[in-house]
Amino acid sequence: MLLAADHLFRYYGKHCAVNDVSFSVAKGQVLGFLGPNGAGKTSTMQMLAGNLAPSAGQIQINGVDLITNPKAAKINLGYLPDTPPLYKELTVYEFLSYCAQLHGIVKTAITAAVDKAIVRCGLNTVEKRLIGNLSKGFQQRVGIAQAIIHNPALIILDEPTVGLDPIQIREIRALIRELGQDHGVILSTHILSEVQESCSHVQIIHQGQLILHETIAGLNQQMQTGILLLTTAQVADKTALLHIPGVTLVESISPKQLKIHHVISDNASERIAEFVINAGWGLQEMVPIKQSIEDIFINLTQSEPADDL
């Protein structure tokens, strides 16, 4: 287990920003960390990176406790905060060699490590330029290079694709997938499609609490709760449809268009089709609607707010 976070709490005064969060990341996993603004994503990441002390709870990185033995634990850690920590007065090359030194890479290996990070993040063309003069996209990439230069087991990226153009986003996603093969990666983002594209696991945090921890495959399955869009020639009888076994909810969009929610397990759709034909409503169209990750996100984050306020 590369990372084990155990019952993490973080209070800012009386405000509880992170409330009993536990999860783990293994090698080869890319964990997408989703949540609305102010949900506690950045606080959690700062705690994992040792920049913020948790109010309670334990963090182990590669089996080493981050709180009692921070120096040894941080060797296995690469962190890109939401604002890349860059010294603007240095050139890319100087900056990355400094980072390599800070991470205790031996002198003889520094050049090789810097060169590798530069190639991986596509910084070849700008390595001699001052960081302050680079575009936002390149600065972001220098930030990522800084996080991976010492080849850490665990890489934490806080919103790595913010401010990048679509081509750069694609490159960074490819890089993240590549990193995910032999490291553990945690990345936070607002962009839901990013999670679907580059992550193997997803977790959603809302008001400081984890409300979902799933593999992408599991999530995809969950997303097919089964919604059928039914279009008929005649007006269909909603209550009759509700009596079909497996149908949970019928919403009407227009008199001749219905949205039918059903259980996915047994072949409910077959029965619905049969029923509609037998009733003589004139079946015109029956389309399954795939729920997007957006829907799940919005459902989860909006369904249960009131009780703790």
């Binding site: 040792g50 920049n51 634990a73 941080k74 905060p81 400094y98 980072c99 800070l102 205790g104």
Partner: protein, 252 residues
């Protein structure tokens, strides 16, 4: 230890990447050169009179202590401007997390930054010492006294920057740090003035006053009590800085 030096050398070189270090060196050097020249001028005008007095103060006595005393006052003004940005600005630019997530202890970070800045300040002291040395072209110097003055100024900047570093750890804005440092240092500088009032001596105030210890070493009498004062002063503020830096992680 290696990490301290890595951070210190980066800090020192970064100072010279901006005009900051150059402008400090240039301005301080210019002012001191002016003061030095006027001091030499004074000596040449009163030289004839001095020749008639027995045990008269020599060239070193007339030129060096006032020069270093003035250098102390200039540095009292200048050091807060150098120290103010050390931790504070990194915190504001959010670059601290680079150091915080690297396998380095907080003490290493503070000490590294402190030594990096001391490098520049000691360079200023060194350049100040070079000035009287130019008098060797046409005169003789009391090297012991010159050394004592250099040491006094070195101790002084060591203490100043430790206090400044702590203020930089405390405050959220560099200007606040500079003002607080300046206030603290000036207070400690003038503290023993009050002891001259009504012939009432306050032993405590006298001991706390930086000026008294500075002038103590300047006379050429290198007293271990004075050295211990500067050592304690600097170490105290460094420890406070480390503690404060650590608590950053807890509160924020």
């Amino acid at each position: 230890m290696k990490m301290i030096l890595t951070i210190a050398s980066r800090e020192f070189r970064s100072l010279f990447l901006s005009p900051l270090a150059w402008i400090f060196l240039a301005v301080i050097q210019f002012l001191l050169a002016f003061l030095f020249l006027s001091q030499v001028e004074t000596f040449t005008t009163i030289q004839a009179k001095l020749a008639t007095i027995e045990h008269a103060p020599g060239l070193t006595d007339i030129v060096v202590p006032p020069l270093f005393g003035n250098a102390g006052i200039i540095l009292l003004l200048a050091t807060p401007l150098l120290t103010m940005r050390m931790i504070c600005e990194e915190r504001r630019n959010k670059t601290l997390s680079l150091l915080l997530s690297a396998p380095i202890s907080n003490a290493d970070i503070i000490l590294g930054k402190y030594l990096g800045l001391l490098g520049l300040l000691w360079l200023i002291v060194l350049l100040t010492v070079l000035m009287p040395l130019s008098l060797l072209l046409g005169g003789e110097l009391d090297f012991g006294k010159l050394f004592a003055n250099g040491l006094a100024l070195g101790c002084l900047v060591t203490a100043f920057s430790a206090a400044g570093l702590y203020m930089s750890c405390l405050s959220g804005h560099p200007t606040v740090a500079a003002m607080a440092t300046f206030g603290l240092l000036l207070l400690l500088w003038i503290l023993d003035w009050s002891s001259n009032l009504q012939n009432k001596h306050s032993e405590l105030f006298e001991y706390l006053s930086i000026l008294r210890h500075f002038q103590g070493i300047q006379t050429g009498l290198i007293n271990s009590a004075d050295l211990v004062y500067f050592a304690l002063f600097s170490a105290g503020f460094i420890v406070l800085s480390i503690r404060r830096f650590e608590s950053d992680r807890l509160q924020k």
